[in-house]
Structures are given as structure tokens and as C-alpha cells.
């Protein structure tokens, strides 16, 4: 079986390399992609959408329909992950660990034991990590705001520099994942809960699709942002640039929520109780 697999692997590799031979040379100005479509985008983007970053304008305006369904794919991935991994029946874990704050003593309470849940003198700690983590917590507390500001910059500045909704959303989600790792998962869930994340996934997709449908209500094509010009009080070209921003915010929101949701579900094995 191993030998057969290896032979198939080598054959497929040779086939792929044979296919690559027919590709145009990298950066060939005479290739079909650079002779028909790219010149149009390069020459017309600034006049059509007033967005200097051509990639962003192609992603969110010329090919906006594709990007909407990319967002829906990510949304579906998050929802499916919950359906597969979440344990819907609430089960109490085997034993819990608490720390008595004034003395620093760690208590292990077996299943069925009385837990000091409401007391101010006890804090619950993860059973896989008992020591104090002052350095990690302080570092996270200092770093996370900068990561989040950078993520917002990436989303908002996607018109002018590399970046956009997908990258900014992932960075924003990563800052919350860092919070959940550096502190603990329960604190992260109490700040950004499971319900609000699922809601934000759906809201991000809704903002994207809603912008498109609003353009249809204003007697224009789906996702033709120039129809929104009366709302902004600008000319149609600038309105397309603003429409891209709205759509990028929707994408960023959905991607951030899905990344947080995937981490919550994977790290806690679907229980939303103890993380890494």
C-alpha cells in the first residue's frame, strides 16, 4: 500500500510539473492575463473607484460577488465547527482547581465536591497550568492594544496599502486568541461570549450582502456602490471607494468572529470551560 501510494504520488507530481510547463513564464507581458484584463484594471481603477491599491478594488469592487461568497464560506466553516465539536449536553469536568488568593494554596476539588464559586478569596485556575503567570499576563496586557489598533489600521487603510478585511479580521481575532491564551479561556468568553461571536459572524455577512441589496433598491446593480452616492453626499466615484470600506468592515467582522469561535471550540474541545 505504501509503495502504491508513493508511485501515485510521483506520477501526480510529474503530471503537475508537465502541466506547469505549459504556463506562461512568470511576469510575461504577452500572457493572456497581462494582455487583456490587467491593463484594464491598471488604467481604469483610479478613474473608476479612486482606490490606489488595485488589489483591493479588484477584490471588493470589480470582483465583489466572489469576495461575498468567500466570506460566506468562512461563516459556514465557523458554524460547521460549532455543530461538529460543541458538546451540547452540559457535563461537569472531572475535577477543578482553585487558588486561595491570600495564601496561594492550590485546591483540587473532585467531582461532586462543593466548589467555592462565589467567593472572592478563590480564583479558578486551569488544571493543566497551575503556576502564576505574571510576566505573560503583563506582556499580553501591554501588547494586545497595539495589535488591535494595527488590525483596525489594516482594515481601514486597505485602500492605500496592502491589507483589508481578511487580514485585519485575522489579526483582530488573533489578539483575542492571545488574550485567551495569556489569561484564561473563561475570562475571554466572559468578555467576548459565544453568542456575541456567532452574532458577529452573521452580522458581517449581513453587512456585505445588505450593502449589495441596498444598491439594488436604489435601482442599480447588485454591489454597484456608486448607487450609494446620495447617502455619502459625494460623487459616484468616491462612493465606490466608501462602499469598499463598508464591505471590508463586514468581512473583517465575520473573519474575526470566526477565528475566535474556532479557537474557543478547538481549545476547549467543545466545552467552553478550560482552554490551553
Amino acid at each position: 500500500m505504501r509503495i502504491t501510494g508513493l508511485i501515485l504520488f510521483v506520477l501526480m507530481g510529474c503530471l503537475l510539473f508537465y502541466g506547469v510547463l505549459d504556463f506562461p513564464v512568470w511576469g510575461d507581458p504577452l500572457s493572456p492575463a497581462s494582455s487583456h484584463l490587467s491593463p484594464y484594471y491598471i488604467e481604469h481603477t483610479m478613474a473608476d473607484t479612486s482606490v490606489p491599491n488595485i488589489v483591493t478594488s479588484v477584490l471588493a469592487d470589480y470582483r465583489g460577488y466572489d469576495t461575498m461568497f468567500e466570506t460566506i464560506v468562512i461563516f459556514t466553516a465557523g458554524i460547521i465547527c460549532i455543530f461538529i465539536l460543541k458538546t451540547f449536553k452540559a457535563t461537569r469536568s472531572e475535577s477543578r482547581k482553585y487558588r486561595h488568593i491570600p495564601t496561594g494554596i492550590t485546591l483540587r476539588i473532585e467531582k461532586g465536591g462543593k466548589t467555592p464559586e462565589d467567593s472572592d478569596h478563590f480564583e479558578r485556575i486551569d488544571s493543566v497550568w497551575i503556576p502564576y503567570d505574571l510576566v505573560i499576563r503583563t506582556t499580553c496586557r501591554m501588547v494586545i492594544p497595539f495589535i488591535q489598533v494595527f488590525a483596525l489600521y489594516v482594515i481601514a487603510h486597505g485602500h492605500h496599502s496592502p491589507g483589508g478585511g481578511f487580514q485585519g479580521g485575522v489579526i483582530l481575532g488573533a489578539s483575542l486568541v492571545l488574550f485567551a491564551i495569556g489569561f484564561n479561556l473563561r475570562l475571554a468568553i466572559s468578555q467576548v461570549g459565544e453568542k456575541i461571536t456567532v452574532f458577529m459572524c452573521a452580522l458581517g455577512v449581513f453587512i456585505y450582502a445588505g450593502t449589495g441589496i441596498m444598491c439594488m433598491f436604489l435601482k442599480s446593480n447588485f454591489l454597484d456602490y456608486s448607487a450609494l452616492a446620495p447617502f455619502w453626499g459625494t460623487d459616484p466615484v468616491t462612493a465606490r471607494s466608501h462602499g469598499i470600506l463598508i464591505v471590508e468592515i463586514g468581512v473583517g467582522m465575520a473573519v474575526m468572529a470566526v477565528m475566535i469561535l474556532l479557537y474557543y471550540t478547538l481549545a476547549s474541545a467543545g466545552k467552553y470551560d478550560e482552554g490551553l
Binding site: T56, Y263, A267
Partner: protein
């Protein structure tokens, strides 16, 4: 672009890819996959696709490594093949 650097990165991409497939420790495979993504990100940046490089760095090298590590820690670290 300096072709020596390009060649080194290309060789590293292949090495990390083969390493991630061949290693028996799944946690090590997750880390090697992150390194592979990062090298690929550098390659995109060299080819001038800065947006793709940014996505590769944030998604491939960043969040997917975290998700792999959390999945490994919740399942098993060893693999039979």
C-alpha cells in the same frame, strides 16, 4: 531581486514541506507547517504579491498554527504513519 536569497527560500519551502509531512510528532508538524507558511510568505513578497504575502503571514503562519497546536493538545501528539 537577489536570486541567491530566492533560491535559499525556495529550498527551505521544500524542506519544511517535506519535514512537516515526514515528522512523527504532530506538534512538531504544526510548527514546521508554520515555518513553511512563513517561507512561502517571503516568496510571495519577493514576487511582488504583497497582499497575498500579508494574508499568508497572518492566516498561514499566525492563526492556523495556533489552531493546529490547540487541536493537537486536545487530541494526541503521536501518529502511527
Amino acid at each position: 531581486m537577489i536570486w541567491q536569497i530566492e533560491l535559499i527560500i525556495l529550498i527551505l519551502v521544500v524542506l519544511f514541506g517535506i519535514g512537516a509531512l515526514a515528522i512523527r510528532d504532530l506538534l512538531g508538524a504544526a510548527i514546521l507547517f508554520g515555518a513553511y507558511s512563513f517561507m512561502l510568505c517571503l516568496l510571495w513578497a519577493i514576487m511582488g504579491a504583497v497582499d497575498v504575502a500579508f494574508t499568508e503571514a497572518s492566516v498561514g503562519a499566525g492563526i492556523s498554527t495556533v489552531l493546529f497546536v490547540s487541536a493537537v493538545l486536545r487530541t494526541t501528539r503521536r501518529t502511527d504513519n
